[in-house]
Amino acid sequence: MIIKQIRAILYVSGTRKHAWQKRDTGLTARIIVSFAVLTILYLGFLTVLVYIGINFIAIAVIASIMIFAQWYFSDKIVLWSTGAHVVSREQFPELHDIVERIVARNSLPKPRIAVVNSRIPNAFATGKTPKSSIVAVTTGLMDQLETEEVEAVVAHELAHIKNRDVLVLTLASLFSTVAWYLMQFSFYGGMHRGRSRDSGGAMVLMMIAAIVTWFVSFLIIRAISRYREFVADRDGAMMTGKPTKLANALLKISGTMSKIPQRDLRQVEGMNAFFIIPALSGDTFASIFSTHPPVQARIQKLMEMEAAMS
């Protein structure tokens, strides 16, 4: 349940650590915390219900109502946790123009537009249906990116909306919620049924199965959401027809831009035996010899698109 919302955010794994470090400003962090608290409350409540012995059907009904409610109010929760506020055309005419240009060209419904007051460039989309969706951008995004790059980012978010990614990931995470619930049920159910050897063994088996299911579903959700990011990159780039602009925006948003070095090759070569793998440790090692962080994988795909289009 936690993951489904944050997946709508433009950048995901590459900078999540970064977002956590800046807890007061990180959009991802705020959404994760809000949904984590909600999920804990909600699983705790179900656990209590199971513990006091309410029957299976009743609990299943209550659980599905709660999941539905979480999905139904997801946009409000996201807006609340990020501090995004919906803005009118009078307040942000240029932003409205950008969104309208893309939706008009691609015959999409115009979403509501929200702005988050944050210096860190980022954007996200949320909403249950394409018509009731919200695209939010930070003030930092508008300040630091060029118009065409903002357009590329907005198109990426519109692609998430068009592809109904919030719904897709809600359904995917339903699986893990059910697994968790089964695990709880088998645990307390087993306790109530007494301690005969048979039911004890069955209980352990069921718990293992539940844990494995939960873990596998967690991995699947991650895989699906990574895939959805690539799809949104592709569809977004199709909407604007300019993959390079999205690639450039990704570089700026993720901070990878600063990874493209400014120091001269001759200087670096002179300072240490740079290309012979030295005894560097920790972060230095990771930053210098990082293989292919997700942002680079996404840029790679976008540039392949660019190559195919030119």
């Binding site: 493209i260 001269d264 090759l265 680079q296 190559a307």
Partner: protein, 182 residues
Amino acid sequence: MPKSDSDILFSISSAHISLELNLGLKVSGRCAVTFKAVSGSLFHDMEQDLKRFLASLHPEFDLTFRAVTDQYGYLWIILEGSRIEDLLAGLTATSGIVEERGFSDQLLAAVFEFQSERDSSFQYLIYNFKRNNFYPFVPNRGKSRDTEKEMKIMSSVGEEVPFERDMSLWYPLWDLPLRSLV
């Protein structure tokens, strides 16, 4: 068996066509190879032989050369000519002689210059001898670079030639002496 430096350098002979078709980048007729100069007679002899060799190419190949030492103590062999095959032959012969004389660790980079038909900016492919691959370098005025143009170069020839995927290793070579000291 891994490809040799000269094999990889020669892949430019086909890649430059893609760059011209996709991005309007034309071979400017200039390229260079640079290596760290060291003191000692072996290196000095090699340098003299290299210059004699390059001078002897002239009537047969359409190729002129200059040697420049930069502020970092790197020796640059800059080649000019109108035919890309001759430029590449000169480039690989130069790096070949350096390697042959036991100075392969000194080899830093080969630089190939392109000029845009669209905005006449100079754009470069840099070959890193330690990594055995290419990366793009597009300097703006001042010490900044045009990453967008660099990424376009990657999109155009990234699959065609061995390419550096890790952008954090795209080290610039500022103040390239390819044109400045004619």
